[in-house]
Symmetry: C2
């Protein structure tokens, strides 16, 4: 039954050979990999205005030069990442670049922060999208957390169905959002050009403003830069592109950068020209839409697509997290299970873990994940800085043809990213200090895991010649709980292996019972030796383990191997298991992990 539910939810399993069909063309890739970056347009300009308003509405004209700064940073990042895509065409992005050029620990810092960041992306975007929906339908407000979880589950299942399928579903809302914003900007500009908007509304660029400081401008710049999160996703996800993957990825990256630049500067300009004042109740985009269209169909269309894109921004996390995890897992820094492809050829463990982790975050913060945004932004700019610096090192070290302009591009990216990172620490320390705690913890975990894998590999390799003793014979211990078909079955099996070395063991709780059992046994199985043990503490494991130890000690002297044969009846239906004390399971696990004995389970299948 389970398997048919699974099939219904995620579809029929795909053959490994069908992997090629699970690659993305540029249109679909743009939709699922850029939803995070594009959705930032819905809140990035607002973040700038929110800082400027602390000085006064007269300072709003500064949003124009600040937006110009963000565009410069965007250009530098897009060009830098384009170079990363060609230099590291197998994906892995910041993690691989930093690891190869700056050393393992830099790689782990980049990889660790991105890993956490993608979890934050999912939690933050879905919560924000849910908020947008429940603001429109206040009756739903008490179910915020529940609705957000439903969305995460939906995205998880969609991604488990495979990358092409999720792209086909998600492409529509992304392009609808882009179209809606283009229309908004076009109509808005048209109204400005035709003089329908009185220019007196806004203070002209260059107006002197009392109280403005470099600190506030930098802070506004850092806030605006949070719109650039998600730019790195494509470089992680190159393996998901159709052949030739690096070229397609690079083109998609340029397309995303251009869209982002147009939408971002359009929104900033309209907000400035229409003199929009940020407001806790209504978003900036929504205010622009109202000024441009009035409260008609277009207004609601823009509101709706914005809510959708916020939720779908989470999907960038779903595309990039599993691929980043594969890279870390291949290097043995996280559990190997992340490298396994699921039924639909996606890295399903990564997808599921991402879903679970973000649901836990949403529950822990009761859906109020806004204050995670700065944490999330700094978690992106750290790897930005590291990867650009890594590229600088690469160019200087390898000096390929035409490396000077390439170096210049990466250097610009590195410097601006570094400044933004520092700005985050200076201006938003109260929200981002946790990064200084969890990054070291994560990196310590990475190293611990790696050390373990190395140790295991070392021990399993056949080249280490440990003296292996020959098994001269077998001693078989059969714990028996009564005289039933189950036990009969196990004894029959034991006899077939080693008829002369069988010890049946019975744990008795009182002397009377012990005596009775012994007598009955003699009649039932006269040829099998029965050992009875006495338990004072109602535990079966304790006396049994002691007995096994004694037998094993003797057996080892004669190079004999001890096998414990466990009779187990298998109920017809799964739920029946809870009706039977799973002492056999406990005994098996305990002996297997704690003692050096072979554990054999002889099943007796019940028919009803």
């Amino acid at each position: 039954m389970m398997s048919s539910i699974k099939r219904l939810l995620i579809g029929r399993p795909l053959q490994s050979a069908e992997l090629g069909e699970q690659k993305l063309n540029k249109t679909k890739a743009l939709a699922i990999l850029s939803s995070d970056a594009l959705s930032s347009v819905a809140y990035g300009p607002e973040q700038i205005l929110l800082v400027l308003i602390t000085v006064g509405a007269a300072a709003f004209w500064y949003s124009i030069p600040i937006a110009a700064g963000v565009l410069i940073l965007l250009t530098a990042l897009i060009l830098s990442y384009r170079q990363i895509i060609f230099a590291y065409p197998h994906g892995g992005g910041a993690y691989v670049v930093s690891k190869e050029n700056l050393g393992v620990n830099s790689g782990l810092i980049a990889g660790g922060s991105l890993l956490v960041d993608y979890i934050l992306t999912v939690a933050v975007s879905v919560s924000a999208g849910t908020d947008a929906i429940t603001s429109a339908f206040p009756a739903l407000h008490p179910y915020n957390v529940f609705i957000a979880i439903i969305f995460v589950v939906f995205l998880t299942i969609l991604n488990l169905r495979g990358v092409t399928e999720s792209a086909s579903v998600l492409a529509y809302p992304v392009y609808l959002f882009v179209a809606a914003l283009f229309l908004l900007i076009a109509v808005g500009l048209y109204k400005i050009a035709t003089g329908q908007v009185p220019p007196v509304l806004h203070s002209p660029v260059g107006t002197p403003v009392a109280g403005i400081s470099l600190f506030i401008l930098l802070r506004a710049f850092a806030s605006g830069s949070s719109a650039l999160t998600g730019v790195e996703a494509i470089s992680n996800a190159i393996p998901n592109f159709k052949h030739p993957a690096p070229n397609n990825a690079a083109k998609t990256l340029i397309a995303m950068g251009s869209l982002l630049a147009v939408l971002f500067s359009g929104i900033v300009y309209l907000a400035y020209y229409y003199s929009i004042i940020p407001n806790a109740e209504v978003t900036v985009v929504s205010q622009i839409a109202e000024s441009v269209f009035g409260r008609n169909f277009m207004y609601f269309f823009i509101q709706g697509t914005t809510a959708l894109i916020l939720i779908l921004a989470a999907n960038t996390g779903y595309s990039a997290f599993p691929l980043l995890a594969v890279n870390l897992a291949k290097d043995k820094f996280i559990p190997r299970m992340f490298t396994i492809r699921g039924d639909r050829l996606g890295y399903s463990n990564g997808i599921i873990i991402l879903g679970i982790a973000s649901i836990l975050l949403i529950i822990a913060f009761e859906g109020q994940t806004e204050h995670l945004i700065p944490l999330y932004a700094v978690g992106v700019f750290i790897p930005f800085t590291l990867s650009q610096t890594g590229m600088i090192v690469k160019w200087v070290r390898e000096k390929p043809a035409g490396w000077i302009p390439k170096l210049m591009i990466n250097a610009t990216g590195a410097i601006i990213s570094f400044i933004v990172t520092i700005m985050f620490f200076l201006t938003k320390f109260p929200q981002i200090w946790p990064v200084l705690i969890f990054l070291p913890i994560i990196i310590y975990m990475f190293h611990t895991i790696r050390k373990h894998y190395d140790a295991v590999g070392e021990q399993l390799r056949l080249t280490t010649c440990e003296p292996s003793f020959q098994i001269e014979g077998n001693v078989i211990i059969v714990p028996v709980a009564g005289m039933t078909h189950v036990v009969e079955n196990s004894l029959k099996y034991a006899k077939s292996l080693s008829p002369n070395q069988i010890l049946a063991v019975y744990v008795a709780f009182d002397r009377e019972e012990e005596k009775r059992f012994k007598e009955k046994w003699k009649q039932w199985q006269p040829d099998v030796r029965l050992v009875t043990l006495h338990s004072h503490y109602r535990s079966i494991i304790q006396p049994l383990t002691k007995f096994v130890d004694t037998v094993e000690h003797k057996a080892r002297e004669a190079n004999y191997q001890v096998t414990v044969v466990i009779p187990q009846f298998i109920p017809k239906k799964g739920w029946h298991n809870i009706l039977h004390n799973q002492s056999s399971l406990l005994i098996k696990t305990f002996l297997l992990y704690k003692r050096n004995v072979v554990i054999t389970t002889v099943p007796y299948h019940l028919k009803k």
Copy 2:
């Protein structure tokens, strides 16, 4: 480490022979078994007044005759249960009485409602006590649910430590509460007797009241009767008493009944004479304390002990639930695990399940469990009615010496309990309808479980002679994932059992790999036959199962038994397991449950 934490929390394991020391004397038994009943004094009188106030404060004098009615019911119940104790000295209370005299289904109705009721007791009492505490310290209010859960965990651990230990801890607050209320009643009566309280405050008994109706009086009576919940607990817990258990239990029951009668009538009378009006903010007992003592130390002492007794009322559930569960489990209506004594000789599974279930209830109702009270009261009066009726049948059937007065007592108890039950259904149907749904479901579950156990017993019994085939030989399948020490070890073991019938199986994911593996194998293990299987879907289980099926089919024709030997390496530390894909565990479980093959695990213990 786990075992030392366990020892720290619940203490050293006790020998079975120490069971006698885990029995309760009357003083301790009274404390832990009567806390539920006695705590009802804190809210029972209030429940009566809350109904009467719907008519007007002039109706408050009716609380006196209503209380008289409750006292009559109490007397009838105490005397009836005293007879039950002697008639069924092994405990089991309403379940056993109803089952023996009225038939299995009546017993299951009684047992099922009590089982659910004890869970409700724990959830309701702990929530009420927590409310009392957070009312005093409003800063704690947001942590209500959390605090309630902590209390449940505390009570669970205390009870896991054993019944005598929990009784020693819990006796103090119970007796403190009794002493505090006695003092309150004594001082209150003294002030009345010395004329310090103006008698004009209250309407005299007998004043005609407009709007009073039989319905309202019966409703008030039913509400007041909710103070009698918990009276049955002693009859379930007889096995916990020191020898002679029935006599000691009967004496404890009488003591509890007397205490309850004095406290209940005292509080009702003071509330009437001091003309206390129920109020959402301050409880009736608290208002009486304020009138009698003013806001001095005594007032806070009474408040504090009341909060404590409310929480400890939960302990009655902990004492009675596990013993009732043992009775149901012995009759195979619930899983057998409830009959197992834990390290400290308590029925720890019952204690743990009770704790978990009540925590879930508290979380589900977010600590607002008041509206469960009527549900809980009706869940007590159904078994009250059934057990008294059962006793009537018993007396009529057996007619022992002096059976007529005994019959009279039980008949009175049965009739009043039945009337109260009906009253609950008539007056509080909106709160108690769920009982009509979950009782049938529970009883259906009981029967399903019983049917399963009977079917299993039937199949395991050796008298059913199914033709058992002789095992002529063994075929051993060894799934191998590579060429390592782990595999080497397993092959060595397989050779020691049956050197000529070994099949190593390798599942390959592509043809190249398959070829390479085959060649290497020939050099490494030339004497072991290797079968390679090809997997299109990255699954190991699927091709392996198909192969096992083929081999088993052939083996069965020759009366050979198939054994699958699974090489498994055991990491040094438990947490390392998550770093290794537990495919061997999956394969083992799948083959064991789905196919008729013996599963052997050969451990290879890692040293670091």
